[in-house]
């Protein structure tokens, strides 16, 4: 376990290069360049919030909120967790808080659109069907399995990274991932069967 590193010259923490984070922006003196960090991880944080069920209309604000927290707490980041894992944890907390605090507003938003992005007119029918299929199959997983599955299959986290991010044992990650994949496949097969029956019926 690496010891916490002291703050760098810009007020941000020094981060040992690598730290499980690919392409982590490191400037002279070893401090994190917040701008580079923002630009590099913006899409990931945005997606993480979408995975946590934030409505699309709130995703921009929520992503900003995550980075505002990151900016405030950058000095606390000691590099023991990979940067993406750290961001994932903050995104989860922000999503949870915003969802609690804005339940009423969310109920109103749900009257307009799903939590998921609505397919635009430029998306093909096949794409829409695939998105709907993936969402339906993810619904078949419980919350813990879904989180492991999304980190592994959508975000490309390794099992050790997931274990570190979620603070669970490596074996637990493998177990959840195996069950999640099986459930996902089964849900997919059921959906395929339904679709075939629909075509024939």
């Amino acid at each position: 376990m690496r010891p916490p590193t002291p703050p760098g010259p810009t007020g941000g923490p020094s981060v040992a290069e690598g730290g499980g984070t690919p392409r982590l922006a490191v400037v002279a003196g070893g401090a994190i360049d917040f701008r580079a960090l923002f630009l590099e991880h913006y899409d990931f944080v945005y997606r993480a919030l979408a995975h946590f069920g934030m409505p699309q209309a709130s995703l921009d604000d929520a992503t900003q909120e995550v980075f505002a927290v990151v900016h405030r707490r950058l000095a606390d980041y000691d590099g023991r967790t990979a940067m993406r894992g750290w961001l994932w944890g903050i995104a989860r907390n922000v999503a949870s808080s915003m969802q609690r605090g804005e339940q009423r507003a969310r109920r109103r938003l749900e009257l307009v659109a799903d939590a998921e992005p609505v397919a635009g007119p430029d998306e093909t029918l096949a794409q829409r069907q695939q998105i709907a299929l993936a969402r339906a199959c993810l619904e078949a997983l419980d919350e813990q399995q879904r989180e492991v599955f999304v980190l592994a299959e959508l975000e490309g986290f390794s099992a050790p990274e997931i274990a570190q991010t979620l603070d669970v044992k490596l074996n637990t990650v493998y177990s959840r991932l195996r069950i999640a994949r099986e459930k996902f496949q089964r849900a997919l097969a059921r959906a395929r069967t339904r679709a075939q029956r629909g075509h024939h019926g």
Binding site: Y42, Q64, R72
Partner: protein, 273 residues
């Protein structure tokens, strides 16, 4: 460990693409982020500031409640002490000195007066002057310090207590949320129906539900939600001009709505040259 089938991988890739912001969004968002960091966080809807203000409100309420309990407690103790002393005086046959003429000089601060005698000393009954607060029994020197204005003296004044209680009772611990009205429920039902139809792919039915909402609740509480959804449905039906017209008017019509940014994106891709 079982690998995912190709179809599953394709579905997940489509979902990931749908959940990823459009290209260039990070650069645009960085400008807003810089502005925010320079100006500090807006009061709402940010979580941290909302939490801070909630904590501050709770602290104020707790402080007010503690002050109220203290004031009532001191008032009750003083009144009880005074009444108890009077009762003991009467029971013991002590004469209560009638009130002195108003012209009589009151003891000044630091002036030495006779301290109350011990209760078992019947030969020197204590002199109780109505209207004066009781001297603390533990004052060894007998130096009477006048009560501080608005503190114990004020709390001991029985005339003031009824005025304090309603004020304290009127201080709400938290704002009462407005009750859900049946009108709002009716609005929600219509919009939920429209949303369900849209999800099921029946956009015409969604439009019918939205038009009914517009007829029945033209300026309803959920009018912004209706208009936004109407624009979305029209866009999906290929009626882009109508959708954009609604989206353009949305910001002006519902200037305070949090849905403005969403409205601005409806059918926006086709605006690009």
């Amino acid at each position: 460990m079982a690998e995912l089938e190709r179809e599953a991988v394709a579905a997940l890739a489509a979902l990931k693409a749908a959940r990823t912001p459009p290209a260039g969004a990070a650069a645009t968002a960085w400008t807003a982020m810089q502005q925010r960091l320079l100006q500090g966080p807006p009061p709402l809807p940010l979580v941290a500031s909302a939490d801070t203000s909630r904590t501050r409100s709770i602290a104020i309420i707790v402080a007010l409640a503690a002050a109220l309990v203290l004031a009532v407690g001191v008032a009750g103790w003083s009144a009880g002490w005074l009444a108890g002393t009077r009762a003991q005086q009467e029971q013991a046959g002590y004469g209560v000195v009638p009130p002195e003429p108003t012209s009589a000089p009151r003891p000044e601060q630091g002036e030495v007066v006779a301290p109350p005698a011990p209760r078992d000393d019947a030969s020197t009954p204590p002199v109780i002057t109505p209207g004066e607060p009781p001297a603390p029994a533990s004052t060894p020197s007998g130096v009477v310090t006048p009560p501080e204005a608005g503190a114990v003296g004020a709390a001991a004044d029985p005339d003031r207590r009824p005025r304090r209680r309603p004020r304290a009772a009127a201080t709400p611990s938290e704002p009462t949320p407005p009750p859900e009205t049946s009108t709002l429920e009716a609005e929600m039902t219509l919009l939920a129906r429209a949303s369900a139809s849209r999800r099921a792919g029946d956009r015409e039915a969604a439009l019918v539900a939205l038009q009914r909402h517009a007829r029945e609740f033209p300026e309803g509480q959920l009018a912004p939600e209706r208009e936004l959804q109407r624009a979305m449905v029209l866009c999906e039906l290929g009626r882009a001009d109508e959708a954009r017209a609604i989206a353009r008017g949305f910001a002006q019509r519902f200037a305070a709505s949090p849905l403005r940014s969403k409205a601005a994106t409806i059918c926006a891709q086709e605006d690009a040259p």
